[in-house]
């Protein structure tokens, strides 16, 4: 396999590049005309509609379910309950973390919003009319919503369905690092700072909610599924296991998806219900959840309770210790690689050369919706980065040293890469101090500090917050990682047609990331075929190779590498054909974008479309070679990629209302080589807005009875254009050494890196006048006000 180094770095000005650069998106054409094809835009002949009855209780015994009144309603075709599913063997299903979850509740409900019955009707309005007609007799049980209380010996047992389960522990305690060495480091330290840091529960809330159309054909046994999910091939395998249907007779088609952010990775009970209903009803069944269903029952994010200490000696960070209680909700469905029950949380040693660290994570069940890994989060890295960046900031405050200065003293130096961290990661490349300096320059850091000092004199509250993150993305090497036993590899299939135009099929699945443009650009860069002549196919299991999909910033690191390497396979074959065409030896040929030519005689050459024509023609090919110009690949990444960035937030706080405003946000990302800088910038903008939401307003909370208090957009607050500033971006480019084009992935970085910068800025604004050293997110006015008054913050 050829391993050509990237010849052209992206150009910021090139309007229509053949290859990398700021190419306008191909997919825009349909979206700006209102011609996107989202799930709810699809109507099949004879299609009927599903709706789900959900539990009003967080924990209750179900004595009986009476569906007769609902069934009597005109237009209602069926009401499916757990009893019906039991006869089909579908009452329970596996989660993607080797746990089990009820498809429909049988004898018990375990969180508010849990699925209890599935109505099928001729019209969506009628299906929903039928829901209150179903009579369910519940006996409420004691509820646990606080993960800490779930560990009490007398806490009610939530998973009494699991044989041998005697407590609310969801996974065995998982550890990384060296506890003894960390204790020694702490004993020798000049200073140790300890904090309790909570990353509260929030939700990805994509604009399009989840749903499915299941279309089972009883004559052929073929199951067609229309569904916006982030990993169609994995879903197909799960359905084959759950429903016992033959995998080759299941086709999943994801058309346009209105955002995912990790919320559309899991398999939800509604999907299994729609499939079962289609099998039973013999008709296509459409089910689409409403916003409340999305917020209260699908994959949430975070909910990590962290107790941590950080140490320094001789002015440098030396050690970190973290003890985590992870709230997984009623099922363990966090979508982790099997070997890492706490995901990649142990990347929490951050961007620093620590002497030692130790991490301990205990996951518990509570009477809340399940999930945990979502919302632009590569397997708990968001929690890890928040933790370490809050701890470093706290340490700097206690040491009375500038927070950038402390980071600069402790950064991993460029010459230390590849760098093995104290918890076992091997970072690929970086020049952290340089990236930090670029951010300081854009921000005008010294001037900002002067401005802040002047404002303090006048009683104004201005804060400057720093965050420096390193992410591990692009899961992952098959020797380390799998989901449900399937390697985290991805395929690419490239077909160059006789006219020189091409189709590339991917296992990655876009939810707005611009894959149809970016992946065409990778092929264009490698083969010199214009991007408009390259069709990118994805999201249809019948028309794409197997792979694990798009989440965890893995599309460019894994599928991007696959597309690059499959293009090089084609290029290598093209070289052999060109040698025959030019009557020379392959080694005498040199490549320029789109053309093989004779070294020393550049006039003599063959264009890629001429080679393609030859490959399919009746003319001779090299001895033993098959015709055609196609290639396939499954890419197994040798390591994760490690994008990083330096973020600076500037906030103002109204001293009378405690309202926090993000006035400026500077984000300097190093995600290696940028394929389409326009799309990269767009990804960063979007993630920063989400980070502002998480830091200042987004919260999923519960009362003591387990009622979800943020079940609509009336009270799950998402930033609008008025809460977001004009973002100020910068970049450094440190190519990934093991990725064929040196790219690292960027989608999640801004969401990962921005919340700690904003919270650090809030603390920075308040600490002198109000002696505040920590506020848990979200920094809403009531929580900030309470902290300013020295009162305990309201519960999350």
């Amino acid at each position: 396999m050829a391993t050509t180094a990237p010849e052209n770095l992206p150009s910021a000005t090139q309007e229509r590049p053949i290859g990398f650069g700021r190419l306008k998106r191909k997919e825009d054409a349909r979206f700006i005309r209102g011609e996107g094809k989202y799930l709810d835009d699809i109507t099949l002949p004879g299609m009927v509609h599903g709706a789900i009855l959900r539990s009003p209780y967080a924990h209750a015994t179900i004595n009986s379910i009476d569906t007769s009144e609902a069934l009597a309603l005109d237009g209602v075709l069926a009401v499916v309950t757990a009893k019906d599913l039991e006869t089909l063997g579908l009452a329970w299903m596996p989660t993607i973390s080797y746990d089990t979850q009820a498809v429909l509740a049988g004898d018990k409900v375990r969180f508010q919003g849990q699925e209890v019955a599935f109505v099928v009707a001729t019209d969506e309005y009628i299906a929903r009319d039928a829901l209150p007609l179903i009579q369910v007799d519940y006996d409420p049980l004691p509820v646990v919503v606080d993960a800490r209380k779930a560990l009490d010996p007398d806490a009610p047992l939530i998973r009494d369905d699991k044989p041998g389960q005697v407590d609310n522990i969801a996974t065995p305690t998982w550890e990384a690092g060296d506890e003894e060495a960390t204790d020694r480091t702490f004993a020798e330290a000049d200073i140790v700072v300890t904090r309790d840091v909570m990353y509260p529960r929030c939700h990805p809330a994509p604009m399009e909610t989840c749903g499915m159309i299941a279309d089972f054909n009883p004559e052929t046994g073929q199951l067609d599924i229309y569904n916006g999910n982030q990993a169609p091939h994995v879903h197909r395998t799960v359905y084959a296991h759950v429903a016992g249907l033959p995998e080759h007779m299941i086709r999943i088609m994801c058309n346009d998806i209105g955002g995912g952010f990790g919320n559309k990775v899991p398999v939800y009970p509604g999907y299994v219900c729609a499939i079962a209903a289609s099998i039973v009803a013999g008709a296509p069944v459409k089910w689409i959840e409403d916003r409340t269903e999305n917020l209260t029952s699908t994959g949430f994010a975070r909910d990590y309770i962290m107790h941590s200490s950080i140490s320094a000696k001789d002015g440098r960070i030396t050690g970190l210790k973290v003890d985590v209680i992870a709230d997984h909700g009623a099922w363990d469905s966090t979508a982790q690689p099997t070997k890492f029950p706490a995901g990649f949380f142990h990347i929490c040693s951050g961007s620093y050369t620590l002497d030692a660290s130790h991490v301990k994570v205990k996951a518990v069940y509570t009477n809340k919706a399940a999930g945990g890994v979502a919302y632009r989060c590569s397997f708990r890295i968001t929690e890890a980065v928040y933790l370490v960046e809050r701890m470093v900031e706290s340490l700097a405050l206690e040491m009375e040293v500038d927070p950038i200065e402390l980071r600069m003293r402790s950064f991993i130096a460029p010459e230390q890469f590849p760098y093995e961290t104290t918890t076992g990661w091997t970072y690929d490349s970086g020049n952290y101090a340089e990236t930090m300096k670029v951010a300081m320059d854009i921000a005008g850091y010294d001037e900002l500090r002067r401005e802040q000092a002047e404002k303090r004199e006048r009683g104004e509250l201005m804060g400057i917050g720093i965050s420096f993150f390193t992410e591990g993305v692009g899961a992952g090497p098959r020797k380390h990682m799998d989901i449900l036993g399937m390697s985290m590899n991805d395929g690419a299939d490239l077909r160059v047609h006789p006219s020189g135009k091409a189709v590339v099929s991917l296992s990655a699945q876009t939810q707005g990331q611009g894959h149809e443009t970016t992946f065409a650009q990778i092929v264009a860069e490698e083969l010199g075929i214009p991007p408009e002549d390259i069709e990118v196919r994805h999201g249809d299991t019948d028309r794409s190779p197997y792979g694990l999909g798009t989440y965890g910033s893995r599309s460019t690191p894994v599928s991007g590498a696959a597309v690059s390497l499959v293009s090089r396979k084609v290029r290598d074959k093209a070289r052999l054909i060109a040698a025959t065409m030019l009557e020379t030896r392959p080694e005498d040929l040199a490549w320029e974008k789109g053309r093989w030519y004779v070294k020393g005689d550049p006039e003599q050459g063959a264009l890629i479309e001429e080679i393609a024509q030859r490959a399919y023609s009746g003319e001779p090919l090299p001895a033993g070679m098959e015709g055609g110009l196609d290639a396939q690949i499954i890419y197994d990444p040798p390591n994760l990629t490690y994008p990083y960035g330096a973020y600076i937030a500037v906030v103002d706080i109204d001293p009378e209302t405690a309202q926090v405003t993000v006035r400026r946000f500077i984000a300097v990302d190093d995600c290696g080589v940028r394929i389409n800088p326009m799309i990269v910038d767009g990804q960063i903008h979007g993630g920063l807005a989400e980070g502002i939401g998480i830091a200042l307003m987004e919260l999923i909370s519960f009362d003591e009875e387990g009622n979800c208090l943020n079940s609509s957009f009336m009270d799950y607050l998402i930033p609008t254009a008025l809460e977001c500033p004009e973002f100020e971006l910068g970049e450094t480019v440190t190519p990934c050494p093991h990725h064929p084009i040196g790219a690292k992935g960027v989608g999640e970085s801004p969401n990962v890196g921005s919340p700690p910068a904003i919270v650090n800025a809030v603390i920075d604004a308040l600490r002198q006048r109000y002696d505040v050293d920590h506020i848990d997110m979200p920094c809403t006015p009531d929580r900030v006000w309470a902290a300013m008054q020295g009162r305990p913050e309201p519960p999350q």
Partner: protein, 163 residues
């Protein structure tokens, strides 16, 4: 109830229940699925259309309330296949990712541009941000949407000058 609504210049008639939402009417009867539903609570703006020239959230209007009125949807932005400047602006400035909020956003922006054009000026950045603050975009962080509206305003001013 029988209603007739002029949608993008064409009368659309149908018997509907009084409770049927305008967003569903638009999506079902003429099959114009560019107008999206996103939240139930009038917060997200994915369903914004023009009702007699004013931007409204069509999830908060009953179809019967629109009887005898004119509705313009995203499909009615382009005229004779020629894109509206706001559509081109969204493409030029990368103001969309997943595209789900885009129709509602563009309709809100179009209404703002019309309002300011009547005043003989382009909207300020703050006016743009205020005008789209009734909508939620999860992907773009809004910055490029603001740029797209600026692009469209400049483009329209130029066309006007040339004319």
């Amino acid at each position: 109830m029988h209603v007739t609504i002029k949608i993008n210049g064409e009368d659309v008639s149908r018997d509907v229940e009084p409770r049927r939402l305008l967003v569903h009417f638009i999506r079902e009867t003429p099959g114009l699925t560019g107008t999206h539903w996103g939240c139930d609570t009038s917060n997200c703006g994915a369903c914004i259309v023009h009702l007699d020239g004013q931007p409204v959230k069509s999830c908060t209007v009953l179809a019967v309330m629109a009887d005898g009125h004119e509705v313009r949807t995203v499909e009615g932005l382009a005229v004779d296949g020629e894109l509206d400047p706001i559509q081109t602006g969204f493409h030029e400035k990368h103001a969309l990712h997943c595209g789900f909020c885009t129709p509602g956003m563009m309709m809100a922006c179009r209404a703002l541009l019309d309002e300011k054009a009547a005043e003989g000026r382009a909207p300020t950045d703050h006016e743009i941000r205020t005008a789209i603050s009734g909508g939620i975009c999860r992907c773009t962080g809004y910055m490029n949407i603001v740029a797209a509206v600026r692009w469209a305003a400049e483009h329209e001013a130029q066309i006007k000058q040339e004319a």
